[in-house]
Symmetry: C2
Subunit: 311 residues, 2 copies
């Protein structure tokens, strides 16, 4: 990642922190003529949602000073909202629980918060609402570190719209990353359109890779002749690289081609695509011929790779 991009990220995060600090302030004001402060409300929320919680647990969860929390719990207890039960496993702890009274107070608070947020959300245009929801979930996920946990990889056959996506992404990526010209988009579009028009499910296949729940890659196997299958349009999104998606896609193609009774799997690629080259080598492909060309603008070397499918 370029440094300017990093700096922009930092600036965006800082801007967002300032922005949301203000919003949290508004949130606090919203509680102004309820019976609770923002911190009390947060504690109440924890009590209502984490059954059988202890004081230390809440303090850890919310990052509160134990002394401060102790006092808040005391006022709750005096107000008849919280009951304590000595923990069976640890005599130092008490298990906290909301009383009926406490639940009622929480319900009121909850309804109020719900209404406040609903008013805000309803004021948004429908697509703004959708975008907001998705964006907030993303922020949470990324910062929680859920974002860099292993997102599930899914390989599935193409669905309506996927072929267009393949063309779209090929064109955007190769013109952007390698400066290829419109000739490439034309070639991809023709290949893709042909695939749709002449699709033979027994002997042809298009696979789409999803990482998490976003499209991350594609590949096709098409019939060249009765004996020979061709692997085409292998693509892995830059953001999804490093998960072995390319390798998995090619493996599936090999398996499919073998199962469909082909004798050979061939493919055409270009020398500048070094990542792909490595995948093909690993899968057992052999480079059989090369010829320089400039069909896509910059001069490069086209390569044909073959894989013998016989056992």
């Amino acid at each position: 990642m370029r440094d300017t991009e990093r700096d922009e990220s930092i600036a965006a995060v800082r801007s967002f922190n300032r922005f949301y600090t203000r919003r949290i302030g508004v949130l606090r004001d919203g509680l102004l003529n309820s019976d609770f402060s923002l911190t009390e409300a947060r504690v109440l929320y924890e009590l209502a949602h984490a059954e059988g919680v202890t004081a230390a647990g809440i303090a850890r969860e919310l990052g509160l000073d134990p002394g401060y929390l102790s006092r808040i719990l005391r006022t709750f207890e005096r107000g008849g909202m919280v009951s304590r039960m000595p923990s069976p496993s640890d005599a130092r702890q008490s298990i906290l629980a909301l009383t009926t009274e406490g639940r009622k107070a929480y319900a009121a608070l909850d309804a109020r918060s719900q209404a406040d947020v609903a008013a805000m959300v309803d004021a948004l245009p429908p697509d703004g609402r959708r975008r907001l929801t998705a964006a907030m979930r993303t922020v949470e996920a990324v910062l929680e570190g859920r974002g860099d946990g292993p997102r599930p990889i899914l390989l599935r056959p193409n669905r309506p719209g996927d072929i267009g996506w393949i063309i779209h992404r090929h064109a955007v990526l190769y013109t952007g990353e390698y400066g290829w010209n419109a000739g490439f988009e034309t070639l991809v579009a023709e290949i893709a359109a042909q695939f749709l028009a002449k699709f033979d499910p027994a002997r042809e296949m298009c696979l789409i890779a999803e990482l998490g729940d976003v499209l991350a890659g594609s590949v096709m196997v098409v019939r060249d002749s009765d004996e020979v299958a061709r692997l085409r349009l292998l693509l892995v999104e830059p953001e999804a690289r490093g998960h072995g998606i390319g390798r998995r896609l090619v493996e599936e193609c090999v398996r499919f081609a073998r199962g469909a009774g082909y004798r050979k799997l061939t493919l055409w690629t270009n020398n500048v695509l070094t990542a792909a080259r490595r995948i093909y080598e690993t899968a057992g492909f052999r480079l059989v011929s090369e010829e320089p060309h400039d069909r896509f603008g910059p001069p490069m070397v086209g390569q044909t790779w073959d894989l013998d499918l016989r056992p």
Copy 2:
């Protein structure tokens, strides 16, 4: 929008509020052994970035109590960080400015915050960073209301990748909204591939509509014969409807076709696409023939519309 979607939005916003309240707490802790509280830091930021600002301005901007702010400014002034100048236009106000000392203090604070955020950002995986940045910008934009202000509409010729996008969106929308089958995607892909392969810039055109900075629609004019142009693949994203984008696209096509010397502009559509029908009628097209078909699955009526381009 379905109600469950609204409820989910509300839940997501509330969850996010809880989440970010916690983060702001961490932020505050980060300032712990600096010389400033979070609020002081925010005031300092305003002073550093909004030149010639007044106390009331800051109070409004940050939602602070004027009395509280007054005291903060006094401590800044006593610390030699802020200077006041009587406002020339309003004798009640003072124009606030940071002294050299004040700038130095801000720079230190800024560097520290920068470093903190940088550490956090650097700990993210690269694509996480990108997603975070984009998502935070989105949240800000939507909540600031920038999201529902009039987003600029832009019509432009296609760029690499757009043709794929057109296929992608046609297939997704028509299979989703009307239950059309894969035959439709095939047709669109063939039309699009043909357009790329035989493109004649003097007599053909593809227009892409952007709303804000996202793709919102498309249309093509292709040569049918020397005398007749054909309008194809008119599409407006559901989220972008109601901005007159479809009408604008068709108008541009008519203008282009006339300028390119065609005598007639024709198009083929289907009766179920009522919104498009209205656009064609408004543009002056006349329905010249109809025939029922079920090429795309559900039975419908294909329609040919013509527009005479002669003056």
